[in-house]
Amino acid sequence: MRYYPNIPDLNADSSINLLLRRAKENRTVDIEEYVTTGGYSALKKALTKFTPEDIVVLVEESTLRGRGGAGFPTGRKWRFALSNPPPRYLICNADESEPGTFKDRIIIERDPHLLIEGMAIAGYALGAELGFIYIRGEYPAGAKILEDAIEDARKRGFLGKNILGTEFSFDILVYRGAGAYICGEETALIESLEGKRGHPRLRPPYPANYGLFGKPTVVNNVETLSNIPIIVTYESYYMNIGPSGYYGPKLFPISGKVNKPGVYESTMDITLRDLIDMAGGMRDGKKFKVVFAGALGVYSERDLDTPMDYSPKGFGGTGTTIVLAEDDCIIDSLIVIAEFFEHESCGKCTPCRVGTYEQLNILRKFQQGTATEEDIKLLEHLGRNIPVGSICGLGYSASNAIMDALRKFRDEFYEHIKGNCPAGVCF
């Protein structure tokens, strides 16, 4: 038995069972068990029954969207890369650093072969010969588990030269990041993967045209790639999972003041309320106050019936749900989020570098009781101008949560100006 650094006991209860089928228990599934429970059959099927074009069509029909947050249709991304000549590269983005997100970790640490199989099929569809897994520096156990799993897969002939006796060759390399949130942004990730500082690139050209080493590159999230074996296995039956247009399973990492925090797998036809119920309801019977969707949005009690899909009105994103109870303060939480952005801004674009700093300082004034109504206007001004002055997703979303809170919890800001914190946290 190999020694692994300790895997955290992250809860993985769910209502359906596709992505987390083998990941229920707190251990790593080895290749033996993976193969006997039907693993790598999708790869076999893909290589023997389908052409690469068939797989791209399958993924397009499945309406699979990027599970890393942006929700871009995966099939379309692949199509863009395929319109450019080879060599092409496939990158798996395992740099999940969004506050409250730990869904990819479950797949990486407990069922790494699902990801490897998905990457091999995606590599076949894209005509790529080399794939990278960019895993964040804070997951040393994950990196080790993946490296061992890849080695096992090579020995069994699921990776390497002439996979399963076919013409197709594909290999995966694990590359560790070093603690920078910005490297989850695909162009910054590519820069970091090339061995540079992780500054995002100006787009266009998009990675599908000019990516890693200047070659066409597809960057997909761990969960997205883990969906590929399921799509190949189920083919058109995949369209029976979940609501129309948003097919397939989705992982929801839920944390904060709920009874059973953890990762839950579900179809996307549930609402925020269902998800909180699934996680055992509010801890200690406290009253619900607000949900933070990572650092990207604020959902109040009135939004509890929001569907958890990628529609314009839906929850979308990574599915990250941080639940706050009545005794938590909005301003206090926003300061934590603002500190996060101030710390993680890479410094390339001035509006983001300076704006996130100013945003934090203004929010701190609310907590200290020195804020005036002018400060609300300043926050709104920053919220309008940081996104337009930035070139990447970090800048686009740096003030989302604050703008959302200003719309939905404006009273709290005024209460703080008067020197009164409704939750009793500040002052």
Partner: protein, 160 residues
């Protein structure tokens, strides 16, 4: 040139990276990880040796070290405690946990270690929000919910 800090073992690992990756520059961050996990600090002399060994300009390596959080911070300690301070851990009481750490180790958070045993760093999300408040000591992850001083002391005593 003789290498003092890049031991035989580390150099073998670096050779593997150079062989594995298509471009030599890609080995830099991975090699820095090796140095980091052995010395828990990246100093000038480490960078100089790495630059010499990999034949990558020193400014490139310095640029990487100053960008990535795991390498940038000077710790001066054998063990590195990372306490998550992001939203899920914040609302579950990471401040109490931090106070306990400060009391037990006698170090101040985010300050250069005094006696060279522990460095306490408050970090952004470490992706373990369901066991919030979470903390890492070196490469090991722990659940900080309902942790007592006694239990924490027991954990700390494993790291000498």
């Amino acid at each position: 040139m003789e290498f003092i800090y890049l031991t035989e073992e580390i150099r073998q690992q670096i050779d593997k990276y150079v062989e594995k990756f298509p471009v030599r520059d890609q080995a830099v961050i991975q090699s820095l990880h090796l140095i980091y996990s052995k010395y828990r600090d990246i100093e000038d002399y480490h960078m100089k040796e790495l630059s010499e060994y990999l034949q990558v300009p020193l400014n490139v390596i310095e640029g990487i070290v100053s960008f990535y959080d795991m390498f940038r911070v000077k710790r001066g300690a054998r063990h590195h405690i990372r306490v998550c301070k992001n939203l899920p851990c914040h609302i579950m009481g990471c401040k109490n946990l931090l106070k306990m750490f400060e009391k037990l180790t006698g170090e101040k958070a985010n300050e250069y270690s005094k006696n060279g045993r522990f460095y306490i760093e408050t970090v952004e999300c470490i992706g373990s929000c369901s066991i919030a408040p979470a903390f890492m000591i070196d490469d090991d992850l722990y659940n900080g919910l309902n942790i007592t001083e006694e239990k924490l002391n027991e954990i700390l005593s494993k790291y000498t």
